[in-house]
């Protein structure tokens, strides 16, 4: 059952997955090649900056890959009115776990492409002694970010329409109220900023996406 679900997920998503895997593989090579060959970035400081550009670019690719696979994975059932999925003899929770788990596995492909591309890119340059390549860390982080993005989109799309709208509306209102409160209630500002920092930095829930992304660092 799991293998067959994985196969269906793969067959449904493979075009997009191939694109994101190739993009994640090529991005480090291309960015480093342009930076070193055409822009002449060579100093340690400049290399760290270029590593950051690679990090942000590949991070964005990973997040978009996660979002796309969730969107597309839902589409395979939505396309046929969810009748097939609902008529199979499994509980809904088990069906959702199967879908989420198989999507998690195929999202490893862009991360694998990134890892190989990043290793290949950094072996082409002579890094100063104080700098190191973080290809493995970047790829692992890209995988986590892709999973996080996938989970968010997956939850929204598979929730019943009204519930998904309620969650979205609650999020928008909460963010709006907090934004207003930071300006209107100075005493609350520090607490709200702390909460925001916690959410978007490690080990907060969205730290994997919003923290600093880089391929090359000290």
């Amino acid at each position: 059952m799991f293998a067959q679900t994985l196969y269906v997920q793969w067959k449904w998503n493979r075009d997009f997955l191939a694109f994101y895997t190739v993009a994640a593989f090529v991005a480090p090579l291309l960015i480093l090649w342009i930076a070193l060959t055409y822009l002449g970035f060579n100093s340690a400081r400049e290399l760290v900056m270029v590593g950051g550009i690679v990090g942000v670019t590949t991070g964005a690719i990973a997040v978009v890959a996660g979002l796309t696979v969730a969107w597309q994975g839902y589409g395979v059932d939505d396309h046929v009115g969810h009748i097939y999925a609902l008529s199979l003899p499994v509980t809904r929770s088990r069906a959702l776990v199967l879908r989420a788990a198989t999507a998690g596995i195929i999202l490893a492909l862009p991360a694998l492409g990134l890892w190989l591309g990043a290793i290949l890119a950094t072996t082409q340059i002579d890094l100063p002694p104080m700098l190191r390549s973080y290809a493995g860390s970047l790829a692992a982080r890209a995988l986590l970010a892709a999973w996080l993005a996938h989970t968010g989109m997956f939850a929204l799309r598979y929730a019943a329409g009204r519930r998904a709208k309620l969650v979205l509306a609650t999020l928008v209102i909460t963010v709006g109220v907090l934004g207003f409160a930071t300006e209107a209630v100075p005493s609350a500002r520090e607490a709200i900023v702390s909460l925001g920092n916690f959410l978007v930095s490690n080990p907060g829930p969205f730290g994997v996406v919003f923290g600093r992304w880089t391929l090359i660092d000290v």
């Binding site: 059952m1 067959k11 449904w12 395979v76 046929v80 008529s87």
Partner: protein, 301 residues
């Protein structure tokens, strides 16, 4: 368990204009139950409710001994289901679809699936999204039969199919039912098709089950009578009058239910004369039942 499907007090609402209200239904074990009704009467919604695809607002549903929707997955493992439209993943091939489907069913009969694929002339490598309507209907029937179901739920299984494909699909269905003794619920608005295969009939209209009875009772109990000198008002008759219409001259046509031959004596006791008793075919019976239900605003039989 004497009923494959038991429904009591079922209620469901979809939007402002459609609702299923207080539905009671019994599908006897081993029967071929024809689920008749005009388009939009609630047949498909009722089927989806009984398979656990929709949550009922009220009432209880028991399918093959399992409460639905809570135990729907247990029941679904023993059910072959053919929906009204193609519900399979279009990017898979026929063979991949069979493999995927098989992985969910312990009872999957691979040899039977392959036999049916050849019998239905379906190419293994053909993509589902490129199947013709007839081929898609055959594939859905193949999947439903290959799980060796105790209950087959077929929602308009032959709608839109050409006569040859329809015959193939019905032949495969009847072959399975005769060899396995499965219960079949077959929803359709093609009344003549039901007449050939069904031994029980349920009629839906406007979200209500307006009639449910054995096919024999449904067909033989409803007659058209040609009566001369019919009284303007009838208060107590041994049969139910579904409709009265003016006929030629002083004659009237009555459509009655619960008719028996010995009831001709009722006319002898009055001024009216019974000229003729006409058997109705299933389609006429169906139409008269619906008409009577709509006039009465409720259950007809």
């Amino acid at each position: 368990m004497t009923h494959a499907i038991s429904i009591d007090g079922l209620a469901y609402r979809a939007g402002r204009h459609f609702a299923i209200r207080d539905l009671h239904m019994r599908v006897p074990n081993g029967s071929v139950y024809g689920f008749l009704g005009p388009n939009g009467s609630g047949k498909t919604t009722t089927i989806r409710l009984m398979l656990g695809m929709l949550p009922p607002a009220d009432g209880t549903i028991t399918v093959l001994g399992h409460d639905v929707p809570r135990g729907a997955h247990h029941a679904l493992a023993r059910i072959g289901y053919v929906p009204e439209r193609l519900h399979l993943y279009p990017m898979l091939t026929v063979e991949e679809t069979m493999r995927y489907h098989a992985s969910f069913y312990e009872r999957w009969d691979a040899a039977e699936g392959e036999r049916l694929r050849r019998a239905f002339d379906l190419r293994a490598e053909q993509r589902v999204g490129r199947l013709s309507k007839g081929e898609a209907g055959k594939l859905m029937m193949l999947l439903a039969l290959s799980v060796r179901p105790e209950l087959l739920v077929l929602d308009e299984p032959t709608d839109g199919l050409d006569p040859v494909v329809r015959r193939d699909v019905l032949a495969a269905l009847l072959e399975y039912v005769s060899s396995h003794g499965a219960t079949v619920l077959i929803s359709s608005h093609l009344v003549h098709e039901q007449e050939r295969v069904c031994d029980w009939i349920g009629v839906m209209d406007g979200g209500r089950l307006v009639a449910e009875m054995p096919m024999n009772a449904f067909r033989s109990g409803i007659k058209r009578l040609r009566i001369a000198g019919a009284p303007p008002h009838t208060t107590s008759t041994p049969f139910g009058i579904l409709a009265r219409r003016a006929g030629a001259g002083r004659e009237e046509e009555w459509v009655v239910r619960d008719w028996r031959d010995d009831m001709t004596s009722w006319f002898a006791s009055g001024d009216a004369a019974l000229r003729e008793v006409v058997d109705l075919d299933l389609e006429e019976t169906f139409v008269e039942t619906l008409r009577a239900a709509r006039n009465a605003g409720g259950r007809a039989a």
